[in-house]
Point group: C2
Chain length 445, copies 2
């Protein structure tokens, strides 16, 4: 498979709609023996985690890898060799060497797992070179970057999937299944977010970040110095967006964001490095808690909480609420009117997790064991690979990549203007009301 059939890959025409809604048998037939040839751009911690999942599959081969860090390259080569596969071609000649990787003619797809600021350029380069793109979150950090992704995908006919793994978390897929079966009635309000104490990740070791630091501290912390907004919306938004059919019958219309003062990172630097540590002079711009409220075209609201600088237990803050009931992740509970045993009383969500376990999870439980983040990483890789192999639109597409990622720059603008409401671009150019969801309607991918 040296090139992807571009027909109906993106546009939501009749053929795509058929593929999207039901997976036409003749599209699937005889395709399972194909091998998808993949290049990975960025083989740090996250890239190698995805690599490991690709190596466990029988239908992929990693022909090329790219990173600016020789150690990351070597560790990846070792992993590939240990898996019994051929040594990949290595691109480690500086920041722009990924452009050489995407030009190879022995790749069907590229997966991008680099620092955020590189995602858009790499995805655009991949699509322009005819490679299906799987890009880590967020896909872009500017409004223009979001449009670049959409425009490039539409102009080239090449898909771009945002690799949002939380869409495949088992509990949220169970909830999606329940939503689709009508258990919550008409959805009214949802919540999500990213509530994760990242202080030990933004500074590593001690109070250090930037060049010479470890892991994501090399690049991620910089965003907390220069930006104030909902910087990491997709983990919380992905599953909610699927429940609310964003871009497939619904869309985000406006948002407001409000940020608290910034205290957590400065305090952490002082605690870890002392009052005189040079990083104690930094003025971090990112408010410790950023609250974003989104209004949807169909009248629902979504509240996102971004909370990464303070001591707190991890939580993605999920809540899905409709006219018949409500699910909340923080207390692992659900209430369904007329179904739950006691009126107005929560019952454990576990009462529903077996009956409404999503078919995808039922089928692939064994394969997902040991995959990252509780198994959900298996599914997001699986979905990407299957969509390339079957030459069908990815179940999380470029419009979602743009719509979810644009929350960050819109949120920054809202905060910078005193929480003024910001209007979402319609990346589908009016198609949102007609487009059909292709996400997880079967147990296939």
């Amino acid at each position: 498979m040296s090139s992807i059939d571009r027909r109906d890959f993106l546009k939501g025409g009749a053929g795509a709609a058929m593929a999207l809604s039901g997976i036409s048998p003749n599209i699937l037939m005889g395709q399972d023996d194909r091998t998808v040839r993949i290049g990975i751009i960025g083989v740090g911690g996250r890239g190698r985690s995805l690599l490991r999942l690709l190596l466990r599959r029988g239908d992929t081969v990693v022909n090329a890898i790219c990173d600016i860090n020789p150690e990351a390259i070597q560790r990846s080569v070792d992993m590939i060799n240990e898996a019994g596969a051929a040594t990949p071609t290595q691109y480690l000649n500086g920041d722009e060497d990924f452009r050489n990787l995407v030009q190879r003619d022995d790749l069907d797809a590229v997966i991008i797992a680099t620092p955020w600021l590189w995602h858009t350029d790499m995805a655009v380069a991949g699509m322009k070179a005819g490679k299906a793109v799987g890009v880590e979150v967020p896909a872009a950090v500017t409004i223009q970057g979001c449009w670049d992704l959409v425009n490039t995908s539409e102009q080239t006919g090449i898909p771009c999937m945002i690799m949002e793994n939380v869409c495949y978390r088992r509990d949220v897929m169970t909830v999606l299944n329940m939503v689709r079966q009508g258990l919550f009635g008409e959805l009214i309000h949802c919540q999500g977010g990213y509530q994760h104490d990242l202080r030990g990740i933004k500074f590593q070791p001690g109070a250090e970040f930037g060049p010479g630091a470890r892991g994501e501290a090399v690049w991620r912390t910089h965003h907390s110095i220069t930006r104030n907004g909902e910087l990491y919306p997709t983990h919380g938004m992905g599953p909610i967006s699927k429940c609310l059919n964003i871009n497939t019958g619904n869309r985000f219309e406006t948002l407001t964001s409000t940020a608290t003062k910034a205290r957590g990172l400065h305090n952490y630097v002082k605690a870890e490095g002392g009052e005189d540590h040079p990083n104690a002079d930094i003025r971090f711009k990112l408010g410790d808690v950023v609250t974003t409220v989104i209004k949807c075209a169909n009248g629902e609201t979504i509240m996102l909480s971004h909370d990464t600088n303070l001591p707190r237990p991890y939580s993605l803050n999920f809540r899905v609420q409709g006219t018949k009931g409500i699910w909340m992740s923080d207390n692992r509970s659900v209430y369904l009117e007329g179904v739950s045993p006691e009126p107005h009383q929560w019952e454990p969500f576990s009462n529903y997790s077996e009956q409404y376990d999503h078919p995808l999870w039922k089928r692939h439980t064994a394969e997902s064991e040991g995959a990252g983040h509780g198994g959900m990483d298996f599914f997001v890789v699986h979905a990407f690979v299957e969509s390339v192999k079957r030459q069908i639109p990815p179940p999380i597409d470029v419009y979602e990549a743009a719509s979810w990622s644009v929350i960050s720059p819109l949120s920054e603008r809202s905060i910078a203007t005193g929480s003024s409401p910001m209007h979402f671009p319609d990346f589908t150019r009016g198609e949102w009301s007609r487009r059909v969801s292709s996400f997880a309607h079967t147990d296939e991918y």
Copy 2:
């Protein structure tokens, strides 16, 4: 005690500051044998609940009651007689008869427990007649109404306490105690709200409301038809405001509000009354879930959730989060960095409820038993009576009555203008940064 000593009652001068911060002994001395003479305006369900608490005390006498409903009057008279007290003078000659009650010269105070739209006029009339006012929540429903309360209180020198009982809920007082002892560090973000399925209260019986219906359905439902906003902010905001020292070193600066579509009430009417019920034609204006985000002068944010039209378990949505830890009511959990046993893991809030039980609760547990709403109603009545008896400013005052109540009209304006940010009036006229909290600093009241 035929009139209240107006000196230092309100203004935060040196004398008031002394009274506020430490309760000067000479103010208290010899005052405990006084009897506070009270008139109650509105003796429906809520008014009689407060009446019952007054009748349990040895330091109050209810000399007058007022209601437009003869049955409510009679039930109240019976309660008073059964308690062995003299029959009160009864004012039941229509909507305006409360004006005659407040003119009596045998009253020190009036308590107002009428439908929301009457609160402000009655409080203003009470203050103008020289009676200390305790008013149920909300104290006003318009911005002008909030100013009317503040202006009247300042012009007359008569206090107006908003009777926000949730300020005295045992768990939130424990948290306040922990906040004041620094366990959460510097506060950053808080949450509150009113998440209470009121459908069975807004319609009673069946799908009925308005004249002829039962209980609050007579008047409360109307607000859901004509208004879209955070209609009931004080239960969630009261305790948060106390934690954040609003109007005593801090203030609300701006808010945004966003409302969902309105589905719950219409669906309920259809379910209870059938498709052809006349109330099925009503277009309810109140969005089912209204999310409000407030920014404070000291940089904290507050998120309020108003959610009264959908099936759901009751929750006031509390969260208090600072640089050292976080409390959340929905999972009854707390996390304090370096204190909680497991890093990044919740522990039960009950681990702290005994050690940090507020002195007020420790002292008055027995007296609060059987009082409404889990005992907290005892404390709000106690605080009002004690502040009148001691001739000191009430611990929840007219500035809080205005600042909390104004959230509703500001929220309505924000929603009506696409979630535009609204600026809070500074009801303290610049005094907020110098004023001192008098709320629950001792075990007295």
